[in-house]
């Protein structure tokens, strides 16, 4: 590890070094919550102006905010919490970031090294508890390791397949003193994220791409993480291949492009799932074939040759055997394929017949709904939001039916505009991640599409929003049910709605007002657009729009767990 030796032997406390490291790393924002084990650090943060600290109301909110910040920008998110409950409250967020490959660094306080293992007050084995849900974690046991460990933490979190890294810091380490040298670079013999892409695999893939009859490009969150949207779009446009996106990939290819066949998977479009089933060449780009995508594995794309591009080799051939694995960074791999094909002006076969078939499937219009009365259809709210915002807002969401409708109907034309919890499916993600998104994009419109169940899981963050003047628009699709749970109970449990009814809901208008925000209740479909416009026009206020929606609406299409792609329930 190279060190910047430009120093004058002055000694600093661990807490001072901590803040200097964040500065050196270019970190401007930290989301956190103070407590005993991190008080030295908070004292140092208080003394300076380079690094701002955002006080959340619950540590889970801090991590989701950091995720929203990272997902909607090119910078890592940073979290600072105390030991014990501070660390355990952050676990859900850390697991969420792990599942969705979000580059964040979480600093957790720890009891003094002499007390570790003694069941001290607010002690928990943070390194042990977080181990299965982090990309890596560290405990600093000597102040001399503070700077190099922090450098490594950011390096590991942001390179390769990104992910959360936890750094556990005992309190005495923040008092101890040493010189400060922030390393310029990191070398770790056990971790090398730079991957040489095999020419052989590129050659094999090129041959298949130029000779296939029924191709599909299946693009996921890896395209966004690799900043490869532009390259992928150019590549797909040149080939005139249909493109489908995973939930995490939305926005990596323009949502209103005619080549876009919509999202695939459990609630994906008819055309996307049928194309996946019938294709003869499947080009998976930065996607991991999770069970919500594949459905029944042995019936998945039965006739396809699979090309799989991924930076994480363990994602390749984990669920679906890749015939042509391309291990490497998505951007580099797509560039290599483009050099082989576009630069040499090679043309794929004519696939007009395949497009004819896809356009037939498209006629099913599988995301359609009927807004035919005063009762507000939840899909209509998303559609109206798309219309009113001209598709240009940052949209965060919680988890459930509203999330699927947002994914289906808001057409994302740019990457990093759609911020949601895909892998872990964390209710409570929407509001705090909207805060992080707003901090990363201060002048942009940020909307949180949520439901009355999800929003209550991190509702306390409304207080954070007031403190920092975050003008988020909360779109609450209030159907008085945990909608997705109710939908499964309707389909698979003979309508026994066990515990999915949201009885005793708060008055969300008064609730928003009590937090110092604007609350608007909308009950008629004819009022939806104007309410959205009014809310967006209140540029400096958080507006909580409580849309009272149809209770019986379900998300279609739907592939039941364990069913094949061509066995969709359409309505």
């Amino acid at each position: 590890m190279k060190q910047n030796t430009d120093n004058n032997n002055e000694k600093f406390t661990g807490a001072e070094i901590f803040v200097k490291c964040l500065e050196a790393e270019g970190i401007e924002l930290v989301f956190g919550y103070p407590g005993g084990a991190v008080l030295h650090i908070y004292d140092e943060l208080h003394k300076q102006n380079e690094v701002s600290h955002i006080l959340v109301r619950h540590e889970q909110g801090a991590v989701h905010a950091a995720e929203g910040f990272a997902k909607s920008s090119d910078k890592p998110g940073v979290v600072l919490v105390t030991s014990g409950p501070g660390a355990t409250n952050s676990i859900t967020g850390i697991a969420d970031a792990y599942m969705d490959s979000v580059p964040i660094v979480i600093f957790t306080g720890q009891v003094r090294t002499a007390l570790i293992g003694n069941d001290a007050f607010q002690e928990v084995d943070t390194v042990g508890i977080t181990r299965p849900c982090v990309k890596h974690n560290f405990m600093i046991t000597d102040v001399k390791d503070m700077a190099s460990t922090i450098k490594k933490a950011f390096y590991v979190a942001t390179t390769g397949r990104p992910g959360p890294v936890v750094v556990d810091i005992p309190k005495d380490i923040t008092e101890d003193k040493c010189e400060f040298n922030y390393p310029d670079s990191v070398e770790m013999r056990s971790y090398n994220p730079i991957i040489e892409i095999s020419d052989d695999s590129i050659k094999q893939a090129t041959e298949k791409i130029l000779s296939c009859d029924k191709p599909v490009i299946y693009a996921g969150g890896g395209v966004i993480n690799s900043n490869a949207s532009e390259e992928l779009t150019k590549f797909a446009k040149y080939l005139n291949f249909p493109v489908t996106n995973t939930l995490m990939g939305l926005g990596c290819f323009p949502g209103d492009d005619p080549q876009f066949i919509q999202m695939l998977g459990m609630h994906g479009s008819y055309e996307a799932n049928m194309a996946m089933h019938d294709c003869d060449l499947l080009i998976a780009v930065g996607a991991r074939f999770d069970d919500r995508i594949t459905g029944r594995l042995d019936k998945f794309s039965p006739n396809a040759t699979v090309i799989h591009i991924d930076v994480d080799p363990s994602s390749i051939s984990k669920n679906i055997k890749a015939h042509i694995p391309i291990h490497g960074d998505v951007k580099a791999a797509v560039n290599k394929l483009s050099e082989e094909i576009i630069s040499k002006n090679l043309k794929p076969k004519n696939i007009d017949r395949w497009w004819g078939q896809i356009n037939e499937w498209r006629k099913k219009d599988s995301f359609k709904y009927n807004q035919d009365s005063d009762i507000i259809k939840p899909q209509f709210v998303v559609d109206s939001l798309y219309k009113v915002t001209k598709g240009d807002a940052f949209i965060t969401s919680d988890v459930g039916q509203h999330q699927m409708w947002a994914a289906q109907l808001y057409k994302f034309n740019k990457p990093k505009r759609w911020i949601n919890s895909g892998g872990l499916g964390t209710m409570g993600f929407g509001l705090p991640s909207a805060m992080g998104t707003q901090f990363a994009n201060t002048d942009s419109l940020v909307c949180c599409i949520t439901g009355e169940a999800s929003i209550q899981m991190c509702i306390q963050e409304l207080s954070t929003c007031l403190q920092y003047g975050l003008p988020i628009k909360i779109i609450n699709l209030n159907n008085r049910y945990m909608g997705m749970v109710r939908q499964w109970q309707e389909f698979f449990y003979e309508k026994r709605y066990a515990m999915s009814y949201m009885d005793a809901l708060p008055d969300f208008v008064k609730l928003a007002e009590s937090f110092g925000h604007v609350g608007i209740k909308v009950e008629k479909s004819s009022d939806v657009e104007s309410a959205l416009e009014d809310a967006i026009n209140m540029k400096n206020r958080l507006v909580f729009l409580d849309f009272i929606t149809d209770q019986n609406e379900n998300v279609f299409p739907m592939i039941a767990t364990g069913a094949a792609h061509n066995k969709m329930i359409l309505s």
Partner: protein, 155 residues
Amino acid sequence: MRHIISVLLENESGALSRVAGLFSARSFNIESLSVAPSEDLTASRMTIVTSGNDAVIEQIVKQLDKLVDVIEVSEITSSDHIEREIVFVKIKDSDTENENLKSLKTNEFLKIHKAENGHAIIECVDSPENVNEFINTVKDIAIKIIRSGAVGIGS
């Protein structure tokens, strides 16, 4: 199918639990695991005996390689290699004249140690097949069996 996976990993605190945790979290089998310092004092060598079909073994190797502390992973059973295991078997001293043992006594890999309280300890260092055979032979007279798990090296 049985496989031996050899892992070189940073000698950091918690490195062992990262590997052990990975196996339990992903429901991989683990038959035996041994860990000790390597030729490099800052790294440990771990030998894991596991079983699974080719796809499972491929995943195990990839997942191990993904751990940030892991420097090198190799599956050694698919090519030429040597493997050994050590086993101690405590028996009654009087059983050292057991018929089954007599036939083994000429085995150069076998030693018999005197122990306290009228016991004897047989030490056997051999290939896993021979160790298994040895254990089968002595299982009826064994009071305690302690196995090290296999270690191996590609040749």
